[in-house]
C-alpha cells in the first residue's frame, strides 16, 4: 500500500512537475531536479518496504555527544 502511494506520488511529480517545467528550467536545474527526485524515490521506496535506513539524527547525536557531555 505504502509502496503504491510512493510510486503514485513520484509518477505524479514526474508527469506534472518535472516534465512540464523541463523546457523552462535550465539544464543544471533539470539535473538537480531529476537527481533529487531519484534520491527521494529510492529512500521512500526502501522506507515503504520497511527497510531500516540509517538515521542522520543518530549521526548528529553521536557527534554532538562526543563534543558536549549531555545527560
Amino acid at each position: 500500500m505504502l509502496t503504491g502511494i510512493v510510486i503514485a506520488l513520484f509518477a505524479g511529480l514526474v508527469l506534472f512537475g518535472y516534465v512540464p517545467g523541463r523546457k523552462k528550467r535550465r539544464r543544471k536545474e533539470n539535473i538537480f531536479y531529476a537527481a533529487a527526485l531519484a534520491v527521494s524515490f529510492a529512500v521512500l521506496i526502501l522506507y515503504s518496504l520497511s527497510i531500516t535506513l540509517p538515521s542522520p539524527t543518530k549521526a548528529i547525536d553521536g557527534i554532538v555527544r562526543m563534543v558536549v557531555p549531555i545527560k
Binding site: K24, R25, E29, P56, V64
Partner: protein, 364 residues
C-alpha cells in the same frame, strides 16, 4: 519578475507564527516541570542578543537576503560553504517540523495511519505555498494569526474552571542548572531559529525597522507561548513533564457546559496552521539556498524537488516519538553553529566591510 515585498505586518505575522511552529502543541515539555514558563522567559531573554544581531545584519544590508549578504561579504566562491550549511539547516529543520506534525497526528488521532501519507499531504500544501512566493505566505500569515490567537485565548478562558493556580508554586522550585538547561533549549528552539527569516529578508521593505520587527514579533510570539505554557502548567501541574504533547493533553481536560467538548481539536488546528507556516518558510529558504549554491535562476523552480528531499529526510529522522523528544536535548548544541556562530561571523564581517566602505567614501 518584479521583486516580491511584504509589509511590516505580514513580516510580523510570519515571524510570530514561525516562533509558535511546533512549540504551540509540544508546549512546555521540559524537565523544569511547573517552572517551564520561567525557562521560556529566560530563553527569550537569552535570544534577544541574537535577534539584535539578526536585525543589525538586516539594517546593514537592507532588502537583501542572507545568501546575497554572504556573497557580498565573502564573494560568490567563498560564500558557498556557508550557504551549503544554512541550506542544509533549513532543510533539516523543515524535516524536523514535518516529523513533529506527523508524530503528533499519529499519537493523538490516527495511531494506525502510516505517517507517510500525512507527510505527503503536508508537503503538498507547503510546496504550493512556497512556490506561490513570500507575498502569499505573508497574506496567509496575516489571515491565520487571529485564528491561532483566538484558539489560544478561547482555551484559556474555557479552562479557567479547571485551572489550579497553585500549580506554578513553588516558584523556581527546580535547581538552577535545570532551569538554565530548559532556557537554553527554548533559546535554540524556537527563538534562534529566526535566523532563517534572514533568508527572506530581501522581501522586507527597507523602511521597516528590523529591530522593531524582530524584537516586537519575537516578544509577541514569546508572550503567546507564555500564555500557552501557563495554561498547560495550571491544568496539568507536574504532569506537564510526563506528557509529550502537553497543549493537546491540557485541552482534553476542558469542556464548556454539556454541549462543547473535544476542544483539543482546535489545538490540532493551531498546529496545522503554524506548522504549515514554519515548514513553508524553511522550505522556501532551503530551495533558495540550494539555488544560490548551484547558481540556479531561483528557488521556485526546484521547490518541489527540495520538498521531495525533505520528505525523504523526514522518514529517516526518528524511529519513534520518544527519539523525537530525546533529540530536543541534543538540538541546541547541533543548531549552535547555524543560529549563533555563522550569523555572528557574518555580522562582524559586515560591520568591518561597512566601516571600510564608509572610510573610503569619506576619504574621497
Amino acid at each position: 519578475m518584479p521583486k516580491e515585498m511584504i509589509s511590516a505586518r505580514q513580516a510580523f505575522c510570519i515571524i510570530a507564527i514561525f516562533i509558535w511552529g511546533s512549540s504551540v502543541v509540544i508546549g512546555g515539555n521540559s524537565e523544569a516541570g511547573h517552572d517551564a514558563w520561567i525557562t521560556l522567559v529566560f530563553g527569550f531573554a537569552l535570544a534577544v542578543p541574537m535577534l539584535l544581531v539578526y536585525a543589525r545584519i538586516m539594517r546593514l544590508y537592507p532588502e537583501k537576503n542572507l545568501f546575497d549578504i554572504m556573497e557580498a561579504i565573502l564573494g560568490k566562491a567563498g560564500a558557498k560553504i556557508l550557504i551549503a550549511f544554512v541550506s542544509f539547516y533549513a532543510l533539516h529543520l523543515c524535516a524536523i517540523v514535518l516529523c513533529n506534525f506527523s508524530e503528533f497526528i499519529e499519537v493523538v488521532a490516527m495511531p494506525e495511519t502510516p505517517q507517510l501519507p500525512l507527510m505527503i499531504i503536508m508537503m503538498a500544501v507547503t510546496s504550493y505555498l512556497a512556490i506561490s512566493g513570500v507575498e502569499t505566505l505573508g497574506r496567509w500569515a496575516v489571515v491565520t494569526m487571529p485564528v491561532i490567537i483566538f484558539v489560544v485565548l478561547f482555551t484559556v478562558i474555557a479552562a479557567l474552571n479547571y485551572m489550579d493556580f497553585t500549580n506554578i508554586l513553588p516558584l523556581m522550585g527546580h535547581d538552577l542548572p535545570v532551569i538554565a538547561g530548559g532556557s537554553f533549549k527554548l533559546f535554540s528552539f524556537p527563538f534562534a531559529e529566526l535566523v532563517l527569516f534572514l533568508g527572506v529578508a530581501d522581501a522586507v521593505k527597507k523602511q521597516t525597522s528590523p529591530y522593531k520587527l524582530l524584537l516586537g514579533a519575537g516578544a509577541f510570539g514569546a508572550l503567546v507561548m507564555l500564555i500557552v505554557m501557563l495554561r498547560n502548567v495550571e491544568l496539568l501541574g507536574s504532569m506537564i513533564f510526563v506528557e509529550y504533547f502537553s497543549s493537546y493533553i491540557a485541552a482534553r481536560i476542558i469542556s464548556v457546559g454539556d454541549f462543547f467538548a473535544r476542544i483539543e481539536g482546535s489545538i490540532s488546528m493551531n498546529f496545522v496552521i503554524s506548522g504549515i507556516t514554519k515548514i513553508t518558510l524553511c522550505l522556501f529558504v532551503a530551495a533558495r539556498g540550494i539555488s544560490y549554491l548551484f547558481g540556479f535562476s531561483g528557488g521556485r523552480r526546484i521547490t518541489v524537488a527540495v520538498a521531495a528531499l525533505t520528505l525523504a529526510l523526514a522518514v529517516t529522522l526518528y524511529g519513534s516519538v520518544g527519539e523525537m523528544f530525546s533529540f530536543i536535548n541534543v538540538y541546541p548544541y547541533y543548531a549552535m553553529p547555524f543560529e549563533v556562530f555563522i550569523p555572528v561571523v557574518i555580522w562582524l564581517m559586515a560591520e568591518i566591510k561597512t566601516a571600510r566602505q564608509k572610510k573610503l567614501a569619506a576619504g574621497r
